[in-house]
Symmetry: C2
Subunit: 470 residues, 2 copies
């Protein structure tokens, strides 16, 4: 019995598969203003789990949350030359407020380095006030001409960290700490994406930074997604906003700064990393729903059994939903949970109950087998661990299998049609980078020969990771 | 030894005391654009605790979080006549985006009934989709001509719930559920504010609602603060946005709706309810820091002891901070924790250590006494419970002591100079309400004779609560 596919198959049209999945799994809708999005409850629950995990890591790194206004006076943006050049084309401008034309238009924050520095310059007096480690969870606006839901939206949600330090070394170490112990740890161990850590070239750097560290993930179609960035800002904003401190030498010095962010774009990365033709596959550690316990039929014994099992799993710390909506056909409900990527379905009908078992369906590894109700809690814990590891292994295998070592721009472009390319940076250089850009291929990042993060762009042995990117 | 007061005394100038406290306790700063605010880390940690407590109650009430765009096409606002009339004067309007003038200007959400109804009308098909219970945590903008930090700001943070139901009765019951089991429970049992629950008069109702339920708190100066509201929207927005469902009768029917919100204004209410001339007093259940363990001097034994005690308290589930910054004078640190309203200070110096005790200073009940280090964890738990109850009792005592029964408008205005007045609604009426408004006194809400929430404005025995309000 052939089923009509619910989603456009990935192999037929990956972008259409992505859009189909977002609609069918009820993750998000397009907003009424071009480029904006409505994040639906299930999509938002994925984001809430991301927030919770990233927030805990940010607090472990010593930063505190705060909130800065989203309206920024236009003149703030212009104080850092590269920054304004980078962001001007993307600004949303408020010209009227309270029924009147404003004397000075205000922009909706595209990012908050400028307004935050204005306050850092008031709050920082002496070296005792440093380091100052601030984070905020906020919405930001960058007007998008070619929007794509979760990946490039006019308004998106993110966290943006902003810090001030007494020395260059301290700022540099902190940018690296965030890169590794917040972002890499979260993306690898929770999102199960085998991200590559590297540094951006001068061309790809954040507008106003002296160094940008990035995490790049390979998506299901072989393209790259920048999943998060951590910037060293040097003293660029400190000089523009006069953010100085009294050093223990008695001299006034400019602070050294970092900023770093990760956004709802990670939801897009999750979908494109782990999704398949049947829908999303959510890594167990992230999953807002790790297990759904389904009543196949609506008789009392079955409904009692699924509720009791739900309670047992909940007591064991599993994030569980009980689906006893038996007025909807079982098959339709099963397909829906599959679309939503819930790692485990435990299905119970009258016959299962008689045998003292449930049918355990694995969304990630695939397959379906009966498990004894007595031991199902232990089995679930084991399966969740296995499938978390499996997703990361699959992500790694794909990246390795679809990354080619190349020696010329032509080969790089060829490789980028199905995956990534690696090429010595010394052989490519800024000139080669510009040529690749004309063909839609970019240097995602530079890594060292042994896969580390280079200390400098011109470090001997640097390798460029080349790809088409979202 | 007379100390110069750190804050303007409340009795001298309450508004100045409020501003002083917000600055000195490092809660917030004014933003660069008029009416906006920067919420500093300690102020934001109060808000995070509020979010966490309110969010858990909202989820218990069955609502799910989602996120809708902050940019709303101007034409949406105009579809519900009262709504647009109410909000038009406060709108911020984006006229330019991405370097171009927009074809249709977009407004920054002042609240989201309109845009959410646009999507409800797509998502709701049949009675099976109801009730639809959605909440979002978001920033909103209402242009303020007379801003006051936390209380009336151009941009503020809040949660806004939006629901759709099959029947009038179901919507009404849900608005009441939120009023009582989310807001009242949180404000009374966590914020320790003895709020009065009532219904708004037609004059004070939300623009577009058929009924507004409110929670009003009496502040330290006797004025009222609206702490949260829960609205029955009837079918007003459903008709404006054509939000219909297929009933089990086979007929298409308009949904019945509610909306409800509570905002960063609650931080202002917290300050003005519990603050005193020495600073804030934070109720233990809310407090981001319940206990600070302070090293009086920096010798090793003392620092080891405060850290060990901090670990014991943390293990017992207490939210604790260890203050071993002994390079700052002890007195200055103590004053700072007092300003921030941390319920308990445990102070340890060499002599305390010798005697096996710590000095326990109570910010809420006042007083200082030695406690044995052996039993300090149990003592802390008891004191936190006592002081939570004490704050609520004080809030209640103030409200009762400063509420007068009156029989005329003149008496009401007189009573409102120091507190609240109660007057039979039948004797006041909409005409009396308008006269009071000319003198800056408003009907905060109507309650029944026995203090309940009236089912209707014209219900016999309704009593009007009258006050000046923030």
């Amino acid at each position: 019995m052939a089923k009509a596919p619910i989603l456009t198959p990935q192999a037929d049209d990956f972008p259409r598969w992505y859009q189909d999945l977002i609609g069918k799994a009820e993750l998000a809708d397009n907003g009424p203003v071009r480029g904006t999005m409505v994040i639906r409850p299930y999509g938002y629950s994925l984001w809430e789990r991301m927030q919770s995990e990233v927030d805990a890591r940010i607090k472990d790194a010593g930063a505190q949350n705060a909130y800065f206004p989203m309206f920024i006076p236009e003149n703030y943006l212009t104080r850092e030359a590269e920054h304004v050049e980078g962001f001007s084309p993307e600004l949303a401008v408020v010209t009227h407020g309270g029924g009147k034309q404003l004397e000075e238009p205000v922009v909706v924050r595209p990012t908050s380095e400028t307004i935050i520095n204005e306050y850092f310059s008031k709050w920082v007096q002496s070296y005792r006030d440093l380091p100052l480690l601030i984070n905020q969870w906020a919405n930001v606006v960058r007007w998008e001409l070619r929007p794509r839901i979760f990946l490039r939206t006019t308004e998106f949600l993110w966290q943006e960290g902003h810090t001030a330090h007494a020395t260059y070394e301290d700022a540099r170490a902190y940018a690296t700490r965030i890169h590794r112990h917040v972002y890499d740890d979260f993306m690898r161990n929770v999102l199960a994406i085998d991200v590559v850590l590297g540094r951006k070239t001068a061309r790809e750097r954040f507008a106003g930074a002296i160094n940008t560290l990035t995490l790049e993930g390979m998506m299901g179609d072989g393209k790259a997604l920048q999943m998060g960035t951590s910037h060293e800002l040097g003293q660029n904003f400190a000089k523009a906003f006069n953010t100085q401190y009294l050093a223990d030498t008695g001299e006034r010095e400019y602070v050294w700064q970092t900023s770093w962010g990760a956004s709802t774009r990670m939801v897009g990365g999750l979908i494109m990393s782990h999704g398949d033709d049947n829908g999303l596959r959510v890594p167990p550690r992230l999953a807002p729903v790790q297990v759904v316990v389904m009543a196949i039929k609506g008789d009392d014994a079955v409904v009692d059994a699924v509720r009791a099992l739900g309670d047992r799993l909940k007591a064991a710390g599993v994030r569980v939903v009980v689906d006893d909506k038996t007025d909807t056909p079982f098959g339709r409900r099963a397909v829906d949970w599959e679309l939503k990527g819930v790692p485990i379905r435990l299905e119970i009908g009258p016959r299962d109950l008689e045998g003292g078992t449930a049918m355990l369906a694995r969304r990630i590894a695939g397959g379906k087998s009966p498990v004894a109700l007595d031991t199902v809690v232990e089995t679930v814990a084991t399966v969740l661990d296995e499938d978390q590891a499996l997703l990361l292994a699959q992500s790694r295998e794909r990246r390795v299998a679809r990354t080619a070592d190349v020696t010329s721009i032509g080969e790089a472009v060829e490789a980028a049609s199905t995956g990534w390319a690696r090429m010595p940076w010394a052989d490519l250089g800024a000139e080669g980078e510009a040529k690749l850009a004309e063909q839609g291929v970019s240097v995602r990042c530079l890594v060292t020969a042994d896969g580390g993060v280079p200390d400098a762009e011109d470090q001997a042995g640097n390798v460029a990771i080349l790809a088409r990117a979202y």
